[in-house]
């Protein structure tokens, strides 16, 4: 790490081990599935084995009669009360938004869709009873290929819509006034590179499968759910199922990962809620891993057509993007918006003068897609970084040099891009220089040349990804202008207890990020109290009632701002008390390291903790001071947060077997000021691992009938530590000008950056063989067959 401490004594900027880890790692905490309530029933859900079929009959008689079974019901039984799962983002006015009943009633549209529910006194009995349910299906054609689904006469996923097209969203820089006309730019370009990239479907594969417990007491219904978004869940349960909001409490206890996969209002939550209401009993549903793979939403799954125009000297002149995005069988919470979160980023860090973007959402009979770490931005970054490499190859230019010629220079910030965003800050030169030095870029390029020259069986490739991203979701005004149903603000409440200890409520909902540690560090600095004296509470709509939860790398970028502001308000609330005790004018006090001092009178001081006790005792309060030292604040971001960085990857490709092995990987990220560099590094490591996984390992595949072929971890191959390289990480720090701590989001940056770095390296290794692209994941067989195809296209000779 090459980061200089601004305040060596301060907590912010310090590597703190995470205070929550002891309980998370040992499991001595509340995971939803650990809950056991008196009289609790267990649910099992029968799921469709067909991708697309009409349900012509369901016989649950035998299941109902089984021992320990309390209730069995189908979608038809609850059709009037089960509501429809929400989609919160109407991306275009004519968005096709089909009903999404939690339990299918007449028709199933993806394999894994819930059909019937068993409630039993124990889980095993519930599972046994599933096998006694008899369902008659009339098969309908599976709709799997997006391009075929859009063709005339294609079978329809939803007959009532009359089309498989969910929406088409267009941005044109000439129309928007943010740039020129793309057609003109391409017509005048000296070089145009056109590419088609495929973003395979991924499964978020969070560590803790989804689990939900509902306890319907006469006073209130409490739901515990392994979710990223308890505040959303409460809102939608109230809005869609008719239970008054104040009678619903939703708790996300400790949650074992989400990666966007738990940014959802799930069928399983609705079903469990309905069952508890129906039976007036506590009910638990915990999915198996196989169910999770099948039915929790998937990510990515897009076809990208990219065209870049450029001059011979490498200056880019225009960027066109046409996207097909697979919605799956229904729209879930953010399904149509996920590809569009990338639409602002296809230009990456480059100064394109003209841009056109078009995205069409397509229904297919597959598991619905939605947010997965990065949500739209990894796809965009992949496309532009792959295309820049391909353009460099076309121009015969060193790919880093091409980037340098086109990126925004550090002295050009703030910079308004062709998509209309204003990037606040960055120093691409500094991050790149540091990355190239750590990577030994020139040495690797020399070795690459040697291997090429001698026709080595193992070729070396160097992959570059110079990325930025937009995170810290999101300015409410921006969200509103794009048809999103909610805002993007965040809140914090800080209360200093009479003994000087501090309790913090945050509206963000951590599920592995380490908020308790980071929030404690921030509060410790702001109030001048020890790190250990801060307790952070979250994830319960009764206590942390104001909040919009955690996703889109927003918690620190937005919630951290609110936290700093709440701390400042606490200080200002204590100030009159301190002045009263010190018998001075409040304006004469300065607050440093937890002490109010009278300017110019050393020795005259009162600590904020003394103020807290005196305020609580309230024996002698000055006018206007309330008898408790606490404050709330909320923050609605003015703009996004723009972390950036340079990732470099060296890959060795065995041309006999196609095996691509990462030899070295350097990530230099600029996430502004790091509150806890250790946690930043952890986020980068985890993010890069997931990005590498997309590049090399993971793919959700369906067979021709629409059955998920990768339903277990045997087929859906997530990498383990042994499959990943040692990462070299470093940071540059360009403080975010709009954030009181200078911090930017970091939760998704590693994933956004890494995938193109790896694939660029694989392709770079093989360019002399005539290879211009390798579809992800770059498995050995796929790499080998790509080499074979290139060889036969070139008449067997290296190009």
């Amino acid at each position: 790490m090459t980061v200089t401490e601004q305040r060596p004594s301060g907590e912010v900027g310090r590597d703190r081990r995470r205070k929550e880890d002891a309980r998370l790692i040992t499991g001595r905490t509340t995971w939803t599935d650990n809950l056991s309530l008196p009289g609790m029933l267990h649910l099992a859900i029968l799921r469709s084995p067909m991708a697309h079929a009409r349900i012509t009959g369901i016989d649950v008689t035998a299941a109902r009669e089984m021992t320990a079974v309390v209730d069995v019901f189908t979608g038809r039984d609850v059709a009037d009360v089960q509501g429809s799962l929400p989609c919160a983002w109407t991306v275009t006015p004519d968005l096709k938004h089909p009903d999404h009943p939690p339990l299918a009633v007449d028709e199933v549209r993806f394999a894994g869709e819930p059909i019937a529910v068993v409630a039993a006194r124990d889980w095993a009995s519930a599972l046994d009873a599933l096998e006694a349910i008899d369902v008659d299906y009339e098969p309908l054609p599976a709709v799997l290929d997006m391009e075929a689904a859009l063709a005339d006469g294609a079978p329809l996923v939803h007959d009532s819509l009359g089309t498989n097209k969910a929406f088409t969203w267009v941005f044109d820089s000439a129309e928007a006034g943010t740039g020129g006309d793309l057609a003109d730019a391409l017509a005048q370009a000296e070089v145009v590179v056109r590419r088609r990239y495929v973003q395979q479907r991924l499964i978020p594969a969070f560590m803790e499968p989804r689990s939900v417990v509902v306890d319907p007491t006469p006073d209130q219904i409490t739901m515990w759910s392994s979710t990223q978004v308890p505040h959303f869940v409460r809102f939608f349960l109230a809005a869609l199922l008719g239970t008054p909001e104040h009678k619903i409490r939703v708790i996300a206890p400790d949650v074992g990962g989400g990666f966007g996969g738990k940014l959802q209002i799930t069928a399983e939550e609705f079903i469990t809620f309905l069952t508890a209401q129906r039976l007036h009993k506590p009910v638990k549903y915990t999915e198996s891993r196989s169910e999770s793979m099948l039915a929790a939403h998937h990510g990515r799954d897009m076809i990208q057509e990219v065209e870049i125009g450029a001059r011979r000297d490498g200056t880019v002149t225009g960027l066109g993007v046409r996207l097909l995005a697979n919605m799956g069988g229904y729209l879930r919470l953010l399904t149509p918006a996920t590809p569009l979160l990338g639409r602002y980023m296809y230009n990456g860090i480059y100064k394109f003068p003209a841009h056109r973007f078009e995205c069409t959402g397509v229904f297919t009979t597959t598991t619905p897609t939605d947010a997965y770490r990065g949500a739209g931005r990894p796809e965009a970054t992949f496309a532009i970084e792959r295309a820049m490499d391909d353009l460099a190859a076309e121009l015969g230019m060193e790919p880093m040099e091409l980037r340098r010629r086109n990126w925004i220079r550090h002295d050009e910030f703030p910079f308004t891009t062709v998509t209309g965003l204003t990037y606040d800050s960055g120093d691409y030169e500094a991050a790149t220089e540091r990355a190239m030095e750590l990577f030994r870029y020139d040495e690797l390029r020399r070795e690459q040349q040697e291997r090429r020259h001698r026709g080595d069986r193992v070729q070396l490739g160097v992959g570059i990804s110079t990325y930025t991203e937009m995170c810290g979701l999101a300015p409410s005004r921006w969200l509103g202008s794009l048809g999103y149903a909610a805002g993007g603000w965040e809140s914090a409440s800080v209360r200093m207890l009479p003994t000087g200890k501090v309790e913090v409520l945050t509206g963000t909902t951590p599920h592995g990020q380490g908020h308790e540690t980071v929030w404690s560090q921030i509060v410790a600095d702001q109030l001048g109290v020890p790190f250990e004296d801060v307790e952070v509470m979250h994830g319960d709509t009764r206590t942390s009632h104001k909040g919009l939860d955690t996703y889109g790398s927003r918690s620190l970028a937005v919630g951290g701002y609110a936290l700093v502001e709440a701390c400042r308000r606490v200080v200002e609330k204590a100030r009159p008390m301190a002045a009263h005790m010190l018998e001075c004018d409040p304006a004469d006090l300065e607050f440093v390291d937890g002490q109010f001092r009278v300017r110019g009178a050393p020795g005259a001081a009162k600590s904020i903790t003394e103020c807290a006790l005196a305020i609580f005792a309230a024996h002698d309060l000055p006018d206007g001071v309330e008898p408790y030292l606490d404050a709330d604040a909320s923050y609605d971001p003015v703009d996004f947060s723009f972390p950036h960085g340079t990732h470099l990857c060296a890959v060795e490709v065995d041309t006999e077997t196609g095996m691509a092995t990462i030899r070295s990987y350097v990530a230099v990220d600029d996430v502004g000021r790091a509150v806890n560099p250790l946690i930043v590094e952890g986020q980068v490591h985890g993010g890069v691992a997931q990005g590498i996984a997309q590049a090399l390992f993971e793919e959700a595949r369906y067979d021709e009938d629409g059955n998920l072929m990768t339903g277990t971890f045997v087929e859906y191959t997530i990498p383990s530590a042994s499959d990943l390289p040692d990462l070299v990480t470093d940071r540059t720090e360009t403080p975010a000008p709009g954030h009181p701590l200078g911090a930017k989001g970091v939760g998704e940056a590693g994933t956004i950056a890494s995938t193109p770095a790896v694939v660029n390296a694989v392709v770079d290794a093989l360019r002399p063989l005539g290879v211009t692209d390798v579809r992800m994941p770059c498995t050995p067989e796929r790499v080998w067959s790509t080499i074979q195809a290139a060889r036969s296209a070139n008449g067997g000779e290296p190009r």
């Binding site: 046994d128 096998e131 383990s720 499959d723």
Partner: protein, 284 residues
């Protein structure tokens, strides 16, 4: 998930296990280390009515020296096999292959005999047993019998074991003066072999005096690459002769296309990996 209901017997002895299995007819299943069976039960891909657990039969565990051979108890775990001094000295090929099985947890639970009896074409140990001319010692209703590895692996997930048979131990001839190598090809550390090659070579005066090569996942059972062996025998120990011999790896092979790889790709891999395995075994 939870398996369908079944009866469970923890066998006290091999005879006990055979008796219970005989009573269960075709619906009995032997539980060794459980690393393949339990996932199948939990996914409800298998639903035996009787599971006979060999975990309590002490005589099935361990490795002993039997003169010109080792005898490896069927219930010896992969981890114990990997670390056992006798195995490391006299059958290092087994130790090397066993060390690549699954992950650490799997190797501490999974057993040598269980892996052979399961006969997954992608399993590493069947090919190794075949290369080493191992002999299986099998207990059945009619007493004990020996089955050579070449007769043991019958078909896809199918061995010469009958429904009431229990694999007791595996006799592995000591290879003195040989050197060996297991070349496993897989992308992920924990995944099964796409193709594997077990090679054993005895060199003499700059030539290869004898060679044994077995292929994993190049057919429904492991197979001996007889063409390769023939080409190597008596040939000079050079990279060129090994490459030429390895080119015959497909003789007798009939690879499948499955979710992991196509037959075409396996056909590419077999000669390449055979060449690498023999080169490594031969110290070339």
């Amino acid at each position: 998930m939870i398996p369908a209901a079944f009866d469970y017997t923890r066998a006290a002895s091999v005879e006990d296990a055979v008796t219970v299995l005989a009573g269960a007819g075709d619906d009995g299943k032997v539980l060794a280390g459980g690393q393949s069976l339990l996932p199948m039960l939990r996914l409800r891909l298998a639903a035996p009515t009787m599971v006979v657990d060999l975990g309590g039969v002490a005589e099935l565990r361990g490795v002993r020296d039997d003169g010109d051979a080792l005898v490896i108890g069927a219930m010896t775990t992969h981890d114990d096999v990997t670390k056992h001094p006798l195995v490391r000295e006299h059958a290092p090929l087994i130790a090397q292959a066993a060390e690549t099985v699954g992950d650490r947890q799997v190797r501490h639970m999974g057993t040598f005999g269980g892996s052979l009896a399961h006969a997954d074409p992608a399993g590493d140990l069947p090919g190794v047993a075949l290369a080493l001319d191992a002999v299986m010692s099998v207990a059945g209703p009619d007493g004990m019998r020996d089955v050579p590895a070449g007769d043991f692996f019958v078909d896809y997930f199918t061995t010469a074991l009958g429904a009431s048979d229990v694999l007791v131990s595996v006799r592995v001839p000591k290879l003195t003066g040989w050197s060996t190598h297991y070349e496993k090809f897989h992308q992920m550390a924990q995944s099964w072999s796409v193709v594997g090659v077990a090679a054993a070579v005895r060199r003499s005066n700059g030539s290869i005096a004898e060679a044994r090569v077995a292929l994993t996942n190049m057919g429904v059972t492991p197979i001996r690459a007889r063409g390769v062996e023939e080409a190597l025998t008596g040939a000079p120990a050079t990279a060129d002769t090994v490459a030429a011999a390895a080119a015959r790896a497909m003789e007798g092979a009939s690879p499948l296309t499955d979710g992991t790889a196509s037959a075409e790709y396996r056909t590419q891999l077999a000669p390449v990996l055979t060449r690498r395995a023999v080169m490594a075994a031969g110290g070339l």
